[in-house]
Each structure stands twice: as C-alpha cells, then as structure tokens.
C-alpha cells in the first residue's frame, strides 16, 4: 500500500506519543526543560507536595524553536488516574517570551500571575482545581511526575479551566516544539519518620 509521506510521519508520531498534541506533519523540535530545584530522574523536594507547602515548582526552558509565540505546561502522573494520567497541573497562555515559570504560581485566581507570565491561566487538574497540587502517591510507592512543555506557533487566547483533553485539542496543530522533565516523589509520612 502506498502511503504518503505526511501520513506516514503522522503515524510515526502517533506511535511515539506525539499524537495527543495533534502535531502537524512537520515534527516538532525538542527543547530543554530544567528546574533550579529539580533534576530529571531524581526526587523532587517535599515542598512541591502536600508533605510540604505544595508550591508549584520552578521550571525554565531554553532552545525554543523559532516562531514560538506561546507555551503550555502539563504536569501529570502516568502511574495514576483512571484512565491515566492523573493531572497535577495545567498552565497555558504563557507568553512566548517567558523563560520559565517561577516557583509558587498562585492557586487562587484572586491573586495575579507573576508579571513575567502575565496572561497565563491555569486549567483544571485531576481534582477539578485550576491550580497546581503536588504529588501524593500511596505511601511507600515511588511515582514519576512528567512535566511536558509545549511551544506553540500562535498566541492562543484560551479560557481558564480547560482540562487536559480540552487543552490538547485546543493546541492541536499549533505545537512546534516540546520539552520534557520527569521527576520522582515518594511520600514521607510524619508518623513514619525516625
């Protein structure tokens, strides 16, 4: 069977997990996502969980693709949720000029976003809350927390409160790059501390 190149490429993206973002025929570039307090493959500090202050962690990115006008971030745990993933955080309408996200994005919409990401809004996480809420895996279990950052070719004016599926649908066709960071967490109950 003869398959056109764009279709074949699309199928390849489907198999590699890119389909959820509805990528264009041209493969998105990858870029670097980092954090001054977290490292890929390592445990995140408890202050980003309900064992601590439950702040959203700081993120930064570099080597964004040319033409990036806006960014969106989804934090999720593919080891939880029915069906997975369990979404911990969604934030989008992030200006393309932003170099990252500062720690402690307000969880209350009455508080303004930091100036450097003015215009950004948060979507509904797995609890239905338009805010970051950190990892709370079952005691004794190590879970992985995936921060996916999407570079978009257009400044979309999306309403707050979108859930993961709604956001992915809304940015379909606009993703020109993606960066990822995966961290770990295991609960540290106070009644089991030495």
């Amino acid at each position: 069977m003869k398959v056109s190149v764009p279709v074949a490429l699309g199928a390849a993206l489907l198999l590699t997990g890119g389909a959820a973002t509805g990528l264009r025929a041209q493969a998105p570039t990858t870029f670097i996502v980092e954090s001054r307090t977290m490292t890929t493959g390592r445990f995140m500090p408890r202050d980003y969980s309900p064992d601590g202050r439950n702040l959203s962690p700081p993120l930064s990115w570099r080597d964004l693709p040319a033409g990036t006008r806006q960014l969106a971030v989804i934090s999720q745990d593919y080891g939880a949720g029915r069906p997975p993933p369990w979404v911990h955080w969604i934030i989008y309408n992030i200006p393309g000029t932003a170099l990252g996200l500062p720690e402690g994005i307000p969880f209350d919409s009455d508080h303004p976003m930091p100036a450097e990401i003015a215009g950004a809004v948060q979507g509904n996480n797995g609890w239905g809350l338009p805010a970051y809420r950190g990892p709370a895996p079952p005691v004794g279990a190590v879970h992985h927390y995936h921060f996916a950052v999407y570079a978009l070719d257009e400044a979309l004016d999306l309403p707050p409160g979108l859930d993961r599926d709604e956001l992915l649908q809304a940015i379909e066709g606009h993703v020109i790059g993606q960066g990822d960071m995966v961290t770990l967490y295991e609960r540290q109950p106070m009644n089991e501390l030495p």
């Binding site: 369990w86 609890w127 709370a136 279990a141 859930d163 609960r187 009644n191």
Partner: protein
C-alpha cells in the same frame, strides 16, 4: 533505602527513607488512584467523574456565592440546603451518607449569636475550628462570614444533641488538621497566613493530607466535608436552629426570605432585584406552629 542507584541527590529530602515499600499502607490517599482498590473519595475523583470538576478550592468567596446562590432558594429547609450545596464536593458528607441532618432535628428556640466558650470543644480545638470555618466563609466586603453568623455556636449546639456522635470526629480531625499544618507548613494552623491556611484546607479537602500521617481517621476529605456541611447548615439554615445569626447567611446570598405566597408583582420585583427580603424564621409563621 540503601540502593546505590537511588537517584536522589544528597541535598534533597529523602521521602520515606526508612519506610517499607508497602502500598497497602495508604488506605485513603487520593493518589491511590493508581491503586486497584482506591478509597471511596478517590473513586469519585477520576477524570470520568462528573463531580470532579466541580471540586473547587474551599476559599474562594466567589465560588461560595456561586454555589450558595443556588442553595438560597432552598434555604428554608436545612436538608435542602445541604442537598444542593453537597453537589460540589467529590467526597460524600455525613449527610450524604445517611447521617442525620443537623437542622432537621434541633427544635430550638430562635437563637441570637451566642457568646462565650464552646461546651464540646477545648479552647485549643475551638481556635482551630474557628480559623477553619473563617476560611470557609470569611467576613469580607460582601458581608458577614461564618464566625459572625454564629456557625461555631451552631456546631457546638449540634454536638450536644443531634450530632453528638460527631464530637470525637471533630476532636480527632481538628488535632490532625493542626498536626498536618505543623508538619507540612511549619506552624500551627491558627498561626499560618491565610493563603497557607487555604492551601492546607485544599489538601485536607482533596484527601492529599491523608497520606501525611497526621492522624486523620479515614480520609482527611471526610473530615473536611463534615465541617463544611455543618458550616453551610449553620450559615444558611433557618435561624431556628441556632446559626444564621441576624440572618447573615441569607443576606449574603440575597435570599428573599420565607414567603407563604409570591405575587406576580413580588416576582417582578425579585427579578429586578428590588424585592425587600423577609427576615423571619419559618417557625415564626403560624403555619409551622
């Protein structure tokens, strides 16, 4: 945990360093969504749950008013108030689980806001409960909050009578709330900035606090919903039952009041927001004697 492949950096707190990897030790954690036998409240937190996206931070006054406005039309009957407002939480309240309603079983005389210490809670417990209900419905530019409406006294009275079975749940829950606050935010709940109190309450509401080992009996969400349900009842129920002092709750939601009949003119004035509210307990009408 001594695995040399442990990727955790030395300067990162090591969660669960000495804990056995026993997933069954987390009976009520919301993240046990990954577990094959999640707790009751977790089961309603899944993406397919229609109630999941109605779960909101407990502190937004605007969210409260959005929900309470719906409840206002039913404020005459405490059961109805609860039935409406309890659509929001994903976790069943005592009322939703068949527990007797506060307002429906307390045939008390119309009571003004009571002063003085509570009889069923210690001074320390009262402080914690006061701080909690003050965050659920704070006094602000929109009107009086739960404290001013006598919600504490409403709950205290209930714990003496219809809700006496809940007294221990209050004591243990308030102790756990404070222990969780000290552990996760570094200080007693009553001393935290309100923004941190709100964050703590979100974690208690969602059940995320359960796994911190602070002493919640069952899910932290069950404790949260018990207090929230009673706070709503004390705020918006008929003053006959000891709360809603000076009709503060009804004023807050612009409830037009108990009326035995509504004329077409009343309806028009109501829709134009020009109807003077009736501020009488339903029990002040002869119909209810």
């Amino acid at each position: 945990m001594t695995d040399s492949n442990d990727p955790r950096p030395d300067d990162t707190p090591h969660p669960g360093e000495s804990m056995p990897l026993d997933e069954s030790s987390s009976p009520a954690d919301p993240s046990s969504l990954a577990d094959s036998s999640p707790p009751a409240e977790s089961s309603s937190l899944g993406e397919s749950s229609p109630s999941a996206d109605s779960l909101r931070p407990p502190i937004s006054r605007r969210d409260l008013l959005r929900t309470a406005g719906i409840a206002g039309a039913a404020a005459l009957i405490p059961d109805a108030v609860d039935a409406v407002t309890e659509e929001a939480p994903a976790i069943p309240s005592p009322a939703a689980t068949g527990k007797e309603q506060l307002g429906s079983v307390l045939p008390l005389d119309a009571a003004p806001l009571l002063a003085g210490p509570l009889t069923n809670l210690t001074a320390s417990e009262t402080e914690i409960l006061s701080a909690m209900v003050d965050r659920l419905i704070p006094t602000d530019e929109l009107g009086a909050g739960a404290i001013d409406a006598g919600v504490l006294q409403f709950i205290d009275r209930a714990l003496s009578e219809a809700e006496s079975d809940a007294a221990e749940a209050y004591r243990s829950g308030l102790a756990a709330l404070d222990a969780y606050s000290r552990y996760s935010r570094g200080g007693p709940f009553i001393d935290l900035p309100t923004i941190d109190q709100d964050s703590v309450l979100i974690d208690v509401q969602t059940g995320a606090a359960t796994g911190a080992g602070a002493g919640f009996v069952g899910s932290s969400g069950s404790f949260f919903n018990m207090v929230k349900s009673h706070t709503w009842q004390g705020m918006f129920g008929d003053p006959k039952y000891g709360g809603n002092a000076n009709f503060a709750g009804w004023d807050l939601i612009n409830y037009p009041g108990v009326r035995l009949s509504v004329s077409a003119e009343d309806q028009s004035r109501l829709e134009a927001d020009q109807l003077d509210p009736v501020r009488r307990s339903a029990y002040d009408f002869n119909l209810f004697e």
